[in-house]
């Protein structure tokens, strides 16, 4: 029987990184070399991660396609499958069905400035794009990253944030929700939309990429409009309950669009055309 489209690749867990309370990053390597070498994906693709015995769950590929030899995923321990993934240690195997969905149109952004707005553990899908852009830094204008989380401890990729902070060609604005700061916290304090407004990035020839919980997106879009960002230059990813990830099981549609096939990356223009069902 030819390729079973529901059968995942087998991956070996190379490294387990504790990002924040309940949030982990797994660095995965293909158990089968050829599959690993033949595997290609784009920033913005997502995957179905299998914890055998528990099931499958959906989140983004958190590493950039320009970083070869491994893929990373970041998740929060929330239900049955993520608890199964949480129990994995280095050397253990898990399943990986990818690449799924569409990708950020990075090629179209050549020469433009980029503004990344992320909230909580929505930085992983953004990091795939940010690292991809930083590995081809000279092809883009200036890069601004606005990233916020509930508390200082909840900030993910802490070492990478430090790295971006030190880079001269990246302006990084970090914030924590009011009450989430620690005495020696040097970043901003406030919700992401207000901090973005304060950072006031210029909007001409600039593309904005927003990822975060629905509540954050709801308040960030008006700010972007106020700053002059046009809808065709604003991108985001939609999160829907998914099972197959390949347009068969019929559950992730918003209006006529399947989030798993026509998304997860949507421009604001596409979002405006979709019915309010997400």
């Amino acid at each position: 029987m030819s390729r079973n489209i529901y059968m995942p690749y087998i991956m070996v867990v190379d490294k387990v990184i504790d990002e924040a309370p309940g949030v982990k990053t797994l660095r995965l390597r293909f158990e089968n070399e050829e599959e690993g070498n033949a595997f290609e994906f784009k920033a913005g693709n997502f995957a179905e991660y299998s914890a055998f015995g528990e099931g499958e769950c959906t989140f983004c590929i958190a590493s950039a396609p320009t970083r070869k030899g491994y893929v990373e995923c970041t998740f929060r321990k929330a239900g049955r499958v993520t608890s199964g993934l949480d129990r994995l240690e280095e050397g253990m195997t898990m399943g990986f069905r990818a690449p799924l969905g569409n990708a950020f149109p990075i090629e179209e952004w050549k020469g433009k400035n980029l503004v990344f707005v992320a909230g909580g553990i929505a930085l992983p899908p953004m990091r795939a794009v940010i690292d991809n852009v930083l590995d081809r830094r000279d092809e883009f204008g200036d890069v601004t990253i606005v990233y916020g989380a509930k508390t200082v401890n909840d900030l993910v990729y802490k070492d990478e944030l430090k790295e971006w902070d030190e880079r001269p060609d990246v302006t990084l604005v970090q914030t924590v929700d009011p009450g989430g700061e620690t005495p020696d916290w040097k970043g901003e304090v406030g919700f992401v939309p207000s901090v973005l407004e304060k950072a006031d990035p210029k909007s001409d020839n600039t593309v904005a990429i927003v990822c975060g919980p629905p509540i954050m997106i709801k308040f960030t879009f008006p700010v972007l409009e106020k700053l002059g960002f046009k809808d065709e230059n604003t991108f985001t990813t939609l999160e829907n309950r998914m099972k197959c990830g390949i347009g068969k099981c019929g559950r992730c549609n918003v209006g006529p669009m399947f989030v798993c096939k026509d998304g997860p990356v949507f421009s604001k223009v596409q979002l405006n055309a979709l019915p309010p069902e997400f």
Binding site: Y6, M7, S50, G79, T93, K248, C249, P275
Partner: protein
């Protein structure tokens, strides 16, 4: 396409020959006062008088529970295994209805657009469908409103029409049909052109047209019609699970210690869990939004994306519904309502 005639009382012998040479034959069998497709071992168990069965025959190609693959964990390693080929059995579906045969078209297009679902294809390619044209219909049938009809041969390998007591017309439509007829070649004679199939068919006046529905649905997303129509809907899965064209499924894990299987089973957009996020947020929080999804998917999204209709007008969902959500009645009101 070959038109043959068989004596009505030879149909049983023909079926007996089919049963001997095909591993599985599914036919409607009476159980209490309702009929269901069951695997039959002899020709006399078949129920020829009930209009349709309760559940559709999609389970022959898209079973309600199905193994996707098996896994085995030894220490750190994990091995994955495909299902064996001999799970897929040559099958003849006997005495289905035209609306059952048409139902496989939307299923096949869902399972074959973009990625090809081999599990479905392996089962569907081994199926031959012998439909019996409808000489009567009941209040729930509306196939003529969705492009079908009592004598529609689409999707059938053979269509049998009872012309009268003695003669039965057998239209052989595909080479699979040819093979089935070849099993009892001597029982058939060529049909003269004077045999009029249309006369024997049931008369089912169309209630609405596809275009009316398609046009009104395009502007109906925020209309109050969904709440009004779905107030009595209880949110069970009966309509989706008896429907010949509903293909939505859930993926679950059958775990036993270090080995187990990933399983696919039927699911319904009528359930709240269908779209509920882990955070509790549900893009379709009320029964009205789910009823809207059911109608929009079948009569607007599928025609737009796969140019195939997600409904064959068999009326099973209306017959199975505990609160009589008669889809034909709802669609008629949508078709006739002119939106602002």
């Amino acid at each position: 396409m070959e038109r043959l005639i068989i004596k009505s009382d030879n149909i049983g012998t023909w079926l007996a020959k089919i049963i001997d040479s095909v591993p599985r034959v599914l036919a409607p069998v009476k159980d209490g006062d309702k009929a269901e497709f069951k695997s039959i071992k002899s020709a006399d168990g078949v129920d020829y008088d009930s209009q349709t069965t309760i559940s559709s025959v999609k389970a022959a190609a898209f079973p309600r529970t199905e193994t996707l693959f098996a896994y085995e964990k030894e220490g750190m390693e994990t091995k994955l295994y495909n299902v064996a080929e001999d799970n897929f059995v040559e099958t003849v579906i006997w005495r289905a209805r035209p609306c059952d045969a048409v139902g496989f078209k939307p299923l096949t297009s869902i399972f074959n657009w973009d990625y090809k679902d081999e599990l479905y294809n392996q089962r569907y390619d081994k199926i031959a469908i012998v439909t019996f044209a409808c000489t009567s219909a009941d209040k729930c049938c509306f196939c003529t409103s969705v492009g079908g009809g009592p004598g529609n041969t689409e999707g059938s390998d053979i269509q049998v029409t009872m012309i009268d007591k003695e003669k039965t017309l057998v239209e052989v439509l595909t080479d699979k049909g040819e093979k089935l007829v070849a099993l009892a070649k001597d029982l058939f004679t060529a049909a003269e052109d004077s045999i009029d199939k249309e006369k024997a068919l049931a008369d089912i006046p169309a209630k609405f047209t596809k275009e009316q529905i398609h046009e009104n649905l395009a502007k109906a997303f925020d209309s109050p019609v969904w709440k009004a129509q779905s107030e009595r809907c209880l949110g069970c899965g009966a309509c989706a699970f008896v429907c010949p064209t509903c293909a939505c499924f859930d993926i679950q894990e059958d775990a036993h210690g270090n080995h187990g299987r990933r399983v696919r089973c039927w699911d319904s957009c009528g359930f709240s869990l269908f779209t509920q996020h882990t955070s509790g947020h549900n893009p379709r929080p009320t029964q009205a939004t789910r009823w809207r999804q059911r109608i929009m998917h079948k009569f607007s999204y599928m025609p737009d994306r796969l140019n195939v209709y997600g409904c064959t007008g068999c009326g099973r969902c209306s017959r199975a519904c505990p609160v009589d959500m008669n889809i034909a009645e709802h669609l008629t009101s949508i078709a006739n309502s002119s939106h602002e």
